[in-house]
Structure formats: C-alpha cells, structure tokens
Symmetry: C2
DNA sequence: ATTAGCACTCGGATGTTTTAAGTGCTAAAG
DNA sequence: CTTTAGCACTTAAAACATCCGAGTGCTAAT
C-alpha cells in the first residue's frame, strides 16, 4: 500500500519519537512536538489507519502507538534520512582506531568504539574461512618459540609454544621455511591438523617440536574464533531492561553462540544488513534488531560487526556509524598484493 | 570479646545460611536446619547478644539476622573451614588454563575461569611495574614488523609496526640486537620514550623506523595496562541486583578505574587479601567485598586477581579457588633463570 | 539456664480507588 | 468530503488501605 505524505510524516515522527523516548506516542504529542498542522483528532484517524495497515501497534487499547516491525521496516527503507555523525563521535572513532596492530585487533577496537557510541552491545565475528598466507617460527628463548601466523586477509595471530627440549637456531629456521613453503593456503581452522600431518610426511625429525607447536596453534586459533561481545553492560541503561529478568534473558541470548551464529550467518554478503524484530528466523530474537556491517570490500570482507539490541534502535545513527567505520577500514586494509607477499 | 562455642556455632550458621540463601536468617530456621539443641527462644537470646556485640544486624526490627561486616570478618578469621574444590571445578580449571600462551594470556584465562566458578566479576590487574627483559624485531613482510617484548616476569607482548619505507633484513637484525642490548631493564611503561631517545643517541639512521616502532609499542603497552573485568554480567543472577538500578550502580563502580585501582593498590603484598564491606577505604564499596590473590610467589608476583561482589560471598570457596589457581601458576611460571635468558 | 507463650512489629502481598493519558466515535463545521 | 470539537470510554500506573506471616523481645514458668 502506498502511504500519502501525511501518513509518511506521521509514521516517521512516531518512529523517531519512540526511538528517542521509549514511550508510546500519542496524537497530542505528535501535533505539539512535530509541526503537523492538523488537530489531534485528524492525527488519531490517520494513526488508526496506519494501525489497521500494520505499521503501528498499540501496547494496550488506550495507549499511544508504537512502531511495528513493518513500520520500522518502512521507515528504514523509505523514510529514514542520512544522518551525519557528530564531530565528537568522529573524533572518538579516529582516536580509538589508530591503525597500529593487525586487522583482528583493529576490528576489536572497532567493535568497542561502535558499542560505546551507539550504547548497544556489538558482536564481532571474525571471518573464519581464512587461509594461511605465511607462517613463521621465531625462537625467543631456549625453550620458547613464537609462532607467527599471517592469514590472507591480513590478520596476524601469534602464540607461544613451550618446548621440552631445546633446539639449535638453524634447525628452527629450517623448520620455519619448510612449513611456510608447504602450508600456504591451509584453512586456519585445520592448521593444527596440517601441522600434525607434516610429522608423518617428511618431518619425523621434528616430531616433538611440531607436536608442541600444533597444540599451541590449535589452542590459539580456536580461541580466536570465539566471537567478542563488546559492552554487554550497556543494555542496563535501556528502559527496555528496567526489569532485570529481561536483561538476563537478553544476555543469555547474546551468550548462546548458536543463536547469534545462525542469525548472523543468514545475513547475505550485502555490505550492510538490517534485520528487524520478527524478520529474524530465530523466535527468541523477535523483539530485537541486528544491524550488521560486513567490514571490507564486497569481494573481500574480513569480519562482521553486528550491533544488536531492542527493535527501538537509532537505525539512522547506527548505519551512519557503521558506514564510517567501513570507510575507515577500506583505508586501513593492506592493498593486498603489496604488503603480504614478502613474509618468509 | 571472646565468643563461646554456642555463639560461634550460631554466628557461623547465620553466615553460611545467609551466603546460601540471601535471606535474613531467623531463630527457627537456625534450630531446624542446623542441629542446634536449643529452643528458638534460647537462640533468639543469643542472637540478641551477638547483635549487641555488632556481629549481626537486623534489616528491620522484626526481621531475621544478617551478618555485619564485623560478623563476616570474625567468620573469615576464626570460623571458616577450608573447603575442597569439587572435582568439577578442578577439572574446569585444569582444562581452561592449559599452559599455552604467555603469562598475560594465562592470567586472562584464570580471571575468566574464576569468575565463572564463583559467579562473580573478577578483575585482573597486570603487574605494571614490569621491566624489559628482551625485545626482538622480526620482519614479517616488506613493510610490516613484529615487535616482540618479553618482560622480566615472563609476560610476552607483541605488536605490529607498519613501515613507510622497506628496510633490508640485515639492518633489521642489527637494529633488533642493538635495542635488545641497550634497553634491558627499561620499565615497560617508558619503553616508547626510551625508543625515541635511542634516535637521538646513536641510531639516527633508524630514525623513521624507530619512530614507527615507538608509536606502536606505546599503543600496545598502554592498552595492555587496562584491567580486564571478566564476567560482569554474572551479577544479574544475584538477588542483590534484582533491582536494575543497583546493578547499574555496581557496574559503574566496576568500570570507574580509579575506584578499583585505589582499592586494589591498598592491598598489601600478602598472598591473599580479603576486604569486607566497610573495611574498604572507598565509601562506595561499603556494601561489597573484594578478595584478591597476588599471583605468584611472595617475592615475585605477576598480577592480581580480584573477585568482587556483594559482601554476601562464598568466602571459603573463593579462597579455595584462588589458592588452587595460585598453586597452578607456581607450576606454570618459568623458573626464572632457566628460560628467560636466551632470547637474543 | 532454658523455654513456652504472647504481644508486638513490619515488610510484602493483595485488593481498591484515583488519576492521567490516550483512544474511537459522533456530530457539527468548513 | 475533510477536518475537528467534544465526550464517553479504556487502561496502566500510582496511591492508599488492609491483611498476613515471619520473626522478634520479654515475661513468667520450668
């Protein structure tokens, strides 16, 4: 159904007022706060129609209106205006994401700053289908090795392997080069298996040390696959969670990996995905919205940032923030061919 | 004042019941649940005395008793029995703290597992007065360096430095060795300054690259100094925080660095410190208790693990858990002289 | 020294009344 | 035909009132 201008104005006013106030919006508020040149009665009639069409809802029969999922969707698709970030927020982002550290760390910083600006938990999902670009073993003390792993999207991870027997420097270098030559393109999640396989193949002489490296790598990479949820506490400030049971419920959903995993998986590779309320496959998420940014370029994304919270969410500001983050990352990401190819 | 056996028994029963139930404990409960062979009237008389002496409190005139700070203190000092950890908990700890990774990461794992077992937030404070043992620069691609920093207590940190100009391998090695030779013993918090000073001294030729390394090091080390607070959400399950305002309040205290910093600083170098309620200097913490473990040996500690929560806390289990953690760390910590001296 | 018994206190649960915000509808006005 | 004034009606939430039970302190008897 096409909405006429007045209905559009009313709908967007209801959405924006509700986003700001968390209170159901009544006809009088609407007339007073937004310059609608009609009487409250007229607005009431219009709101009734918008409700019949499914854009608005009443929490009870004599209450003001609240946007429905359909209403938010219409707002996001047709009515929402681009918002500019405040200088404050831009500075905050620029000062936090400084460009030191590898992409994994940059993404963590991004998740953190996004959650602070938007006052919503933010889930970071590192792209897991990542392939090994380079591996390097560095001796840092007699019985300690540092294993440096660089993946094809530029993430650098490292871990310590403790040795039971010491081993001469040149053997380490030899091992490092053999591994680097043979393991190119290995999916990171299988790296520890590939390392173990190397023992059987041609590296029996490194049997012990390889086993130890493998264990350490396995631990580090599996750990890293875990998602980071930044700023979960922020929900306590939302009126939606003034009842602690609801807060607990939401925290539980957030920490149930399967729910978040499945949902985020369902987001296609579009750059910015918005799932509102009952659009979620998962029933438990029917009152929440998720806005996900696939960080990076269309063809090559490095991870997902997902802002998650009650449907009542500042969609406009969230989109603006995420777009700015992505813009920033495009500048920060290594221009592939240039930097990565030299690691030996 | 010396308490007779019966009073001791009553006090410890009140404490333990209240710890378990979060409800004020009445004379009848006490007689029934704990094998006190006296009538409720007798118990009431004794409780009155215990209240007059300041060990117990009433939340209102006709309610059961709740331990006061003094009561908890007496319990902790005199009545509390050593508790054995369940096999479940021991296994959980053993499986989580696996010994891969450097001490910083091990401590993070420890904070995490402690908070999960005790269902309380746990703050990890890394020992900040740490000195440089070794620094090593590794080239990982044409314009990326990995800076590995090993401190004297065994923590390994590393960060990426991005270069504007590439630099030949042998120069890197030279630089790495010069730095390692000259910076031994530098406090980590000043490392970036020391690096910059090196430019003025004898390393003008490395001017650019040193600047870039310094920036990166500065960022990484300052970031790491931040405390980690594990499992803040756990408080939502406590009846104390059924009012969300109180939860918010506590979360705010936890995230106000100064409060926690100052308080933790006040804990002497004893291995295990317990601060109960109003024993805290900080007024805001008067309803909370903090149990802190200085991880490591008396002479050489590597960090602090602090379990924080309402005064109603399972002191016995907390102490047992922390002791086990410390025991574990003593085994994991490098035996100083052996491992650390080889990094070149 | 202990305890049965009782009057007393008070928080919390339950029920009732009031208030304020907001609606839908009707009928009149534009 | 559209808009609006006016009013009866609905409901959540706040304010107030009542009741109940867990628990106490004290007295007097054991």
């Amino acid at each position: 159904m096409k909405l006429d201008e007045r209905k559009k104005k009313i709908l967007s006013s209801v959405v924006e007022d509700y986003i700001a106030s968390a209170e159901p919006v009544g006809s009088k508020t609407l007339v007073e706060k937004y310059k609608l040149n009609y009487s409250s009665a007229t607005i009431r009639n219009e709101m009734k129609i918008l409700e019949d069409e499914g854009y608005l809802e009443q929490v009870h029969i004599s209450s003001g209106r609240v946007p429905s999922t359909k209403g938010y969707r219409y707002y996001v698709d047709n009515l929402m205006k681009d918002k500019n970030l405040s200088m404050l927020d831009i500075n905050y982002i620029d000062n936090t994401i400084t460009g030191y550290g590898d992409i994994g760390k940059l993404l963590e910083q991004a998740a953190d700053v996004v959650s602070k600006i938007l006052l919503r938990p933010t889930v970071l999902t590192l792209k897991s289908s990542d392939l090994l670009e380079h591996i390097k073993i560095v001796k840092i003390s007699e019985k300690l090795l540092l294993v440096v792993i660089m993946s094809q999207n530029g993430t650098v991870k490292d871990c310590i392997a403790k040795l039971t027997d010491s081993i001469p420097d040149e053997r380490i270098e030899e091992l490092s080069e053999v591994l680097d030559r043979n393991l190119l393109g290995t999916p990171l999640e299988n790296l520890h298996i590939a390392l173990n396989k190397m023992i059987e193949k041609d590296l029996q002489k490194f049997s012990n040390i390889l086993g130890e490296i493998s264990e350490s790598v396995k631990y580090e990479l599996n750990k890293e696959r875990k998602k980071l949820s930044a700023n979960v506490e922020s929900i306590l400030d939302l009126p939606e969670f003034s009842d602690v049971e609801k807060a607990k419920n939401f925290v539980n959903i957030l920490s149930t990996k399967e729910i978040i995993d499945d949902t985020l998986l369902s987001i296609k590779d579009e750059n910015l995905g918005i799932i509102i309320g009952s659009e979620n496959q998962e029933l438990l998420l029917k009152d929440y919205s998720i806005i996900t940014l696939n960080v990076g370029d269309k063809d090559k994304t490095v991870g997902k940032l997902s802002v998650i919270g009650p449907k009542r969410m500042d969609y406009s500001k969230t989109v603006a923030t995420l777009k700015y983050i992505n813009h920033k990352f495009k500048n920060l990401l290594p221009t592939e061919s240039k930097n990565n190819k030299e690691m030996k």
